[in-house]
Assembly symmetry: C2
């Protein structure tokens, strides 16, 4: 069914890029949505722009969000980022890098844009395994958001369409995500995962996100094209 | 139970001001949340600031949102506002003043702030009767958002608390809202409802929001302290 539109949440990392690849492979015309929310570095948004262009996004919208004014997370510059598997994304408890309600805020904007575009499909690269500490990466959360979204919108109320939140990576391991991306022919050299890039432009290799990425590429037996320190 | 914190969504209109009054009367320490989303006029935010100050908000956060970039609604300056009961809020169909997913976006930010504040209470002045055309003003929508929110957050996942979305006006008529506000001792002279204020600073008296307001005050037998043309 060519020409069906999908809104794809795109951070520029491995997961959202793969989710974009899946949406494209399923024949959707993709509208990429990224957020400038006072991240620690611009590298992430640069990657999102390059991925959107490389994968042929029909449009790429970068919305500014005032998340820093709300406070409370390590991915904006006020709270230190954990290193060396000190808990967090490595599997125990809810990480300090968890941004309160972030996916809910991101999906809400995707929902608004989907409604304007008359699209009934939103893609998000959440993953329940590697990010088990994030409440808003779990299948039951995604299902509850989808249910709410279908009550929130014109299309849902008028019964014209049923909005679907696609989370194609939700039950995959990082290694499986890497393999899926390779199958889809994605250039992971465009993506960016590191929370604290080095002054020379390389990924730090130490933050939890770098460690997860290294483990994923290692287990998949694929070379990571992104230059990493250490 | 003094000192319980609540996040109160505050537009500066009649309904959100009354919802704030209810939260305060229930003993909550109120954190007011408003949005600067490219509204047609600043008057609304000025009113929100005055109401927050008058009602003793512990903090008042005004977040910028890029809704204009998403498009699709008459309350940002690209689409004309309807006048004279031409459909819209007067009861038939979904109005062009409906902003796609607006309450979902607003509530998502409230949810993030509530999580940072360790609050489990959010107040929103939605009203299902006068705004029957808005999908995101219905009780089933509010319930679905609450359910999703309890799956989205640390507190919900850890079972520490159960987040509650309070919509104390949801089944009231505009006249009942006016009476409730009078009982609560609110100064409605601080509020603002008009979509298109006159150059002399008076409310237009013609837009759907002015008409609803006039009907509400009229039926309640209360004089509206806000100066209105016509």
């Amino acid at each position: 069914m060519p020409g069906r539109r999908a809104v794809v949440l795109l951070s520029g990392g491995l997961d959202s890029t793969t989710a974009f690849g899946v949406a494209r492979a399923e024949g959707f015309e993709c509208y990429a949505l990224s957020f400038d929310y006072g991240q620690r570095h611009d590298r992430e948004l640069d990657s999102a722009r390059r991925v959107a262009a490389a994968l042929g996004a029909k449009e790429h919208l970068v919305l500014r969000l005032d998340l820093r004014a709300i406070g409370g997370a390590a991915l904006t510059p006020d709270i230190p980022v954990p290193k060396g598997g000190s808990g967090a994304e490595m599997g125990t408890g809810i990480p300090v890098t968890y941004v309160p309600a972030r996916n809910t805020i991101f999906l809400s904007h995707a929902l608004a844009w989907a409604e304007v575009l008359e699209s009934s499909d939103i893609f998000i690269g959440v993953n329940a395994l590697d990010y088990s500490g994030y409440p808003d990466c779990r299948p039951e959360y995604i299902e509850a958001f989808e249910r709410m979204a279908n009550l929130a919108t014109k299309a849902g109320v008028e019964g014209r369409t049923r909005l679907h939140i696609h989370a194609p990576l939700i039950s995959l391991s990082k290694a499986q995500i890497v393999r899926r991306g390779v199958e889809l022919g994605l250039d992971f050299g465009l993506t960016w995962s590191c929370y604290e890039p080095r002054p020379d432009g390389r990924a730090c290799g130490r933050c939890d996100s770098c460690q997860l990425r290294r483990k994923g590429f290692g287990e998949a037996g694929v070379r990571d094209p992104v230059a990493t320190a250490g």
